[in-house]
Symmetry: C2
Subunit: 218 residues, 2 copies
Amino acid sequence: MPSYKLTYFDIRAFAEPARLLFHLGGVPYEDVRMPTDDIVPGIQSDAFLALKDKTPFGRFPVLSIDGFDLAQSTAIHRYLARKFGYAGKSPEDEAFADSIVDQVKEYLESFRPLLYAQKSGKPEEEVKRIHDEVYIPVKNLLFKILTRILKESKSEYLVGDGLTWADLVVADHLYSLTNIKELDPEDPIHLNLKKYQERIFNLPELKDYIETRPKRDL
Amino acid sequence: MPSYKLTYFDIRAFAEPARLLFHLGGVPYEDVRMPTDDIVPGIQSDAFLALKDKTPFGRFPVLSIDGFDLAQSTAIHRYLARKFGYAGKSPEDEAFADSIVDQVKEYLESFRPLLYAQKSGKPEEEVKRIHDEVYIPVKNLLFKILTRILKESKSEYLVGDGLTWADLVVADHLYSLTNIKELDPEDPIHLNLKKYQERIFNLPELKDYIETRPKRDL
């Protein structure tokens, strides 16, 4: 078996679907978690900057597979999903899973400005404007798409008749939205997605890891 | 052979790597090109809006494969690349190609604001600020990454010893940059990438199509 090392920060964000895939596959890996302090520009240590400079594209996460360093979270997740049998059962299912993940990535382009606005201490009014005008429309669009896909699905999963990495990417993000109070249990669409997320998190192969992993909002 | 229909606007942008792949594979397809007027919000016809509403995620391009509608350009390109043998020759090569394409997509997040600023008629100073402060740093980073990958490659291609869809995505974008004068022939890094782009465009399977296709800057 190859030797796997996943290097990222001590948060879920862009690495958690990879961690979930290792647990699903029952495959051991080295889970290197750097202090999140290192993310903040200006206070990065020389050691961290030297490490960053050795990554393929100057960014984390990086998955090392017997010395081959792979960058870009989505490429990492797809690679592991295919290795461990969670990429989809036909070329069309694989492509559908890919398209869902890319749709989530497109949505994240409008989620990040909200996080940055909140963290950088912008005035409350400006944060509210970004939340209401930039973020909410794309969140509603994503929720509409996910709801339709789950309704049309022949299984309890997004793609085909079994779990794929698209479920992991989506469920992991829905959990982040729960943590930052962007899922409203009074809204039937939100509640339905929340139930879907909980079904994924309760899968026997994942449950133990999820219950014992470090608690992180994002 | 399946029946393929690609629906997009009458530009290269998010569909051209798919068109190039059909020509590389020598596979016939229906190339539906809608007037670019339809992209501008506010003047979209009822017919166009109805069509858009029928797409998986409300956006184009869409690739229809015997009635299965696939959205998201990158998912479309990867699907065709794998069908026609241009995805990479090993799981690691496939993942490396994926990671390069995702790196280009990340860069495009800073290219689009420049295009929008130019097209929406923002004041010249603001366009220059976005160009110099937002776009140029990410362009330089991408060029540095591509230059290093090509230098370390054992072939004339980005991944492994043969052409992959990553070459098509990168060369197509370098051609766009040539058209909008963002490649400077006096700069050796730019010149080297320009030569790489021309090598790809001169491949016998692509040359005829590229010479006869509709001329579009982007």
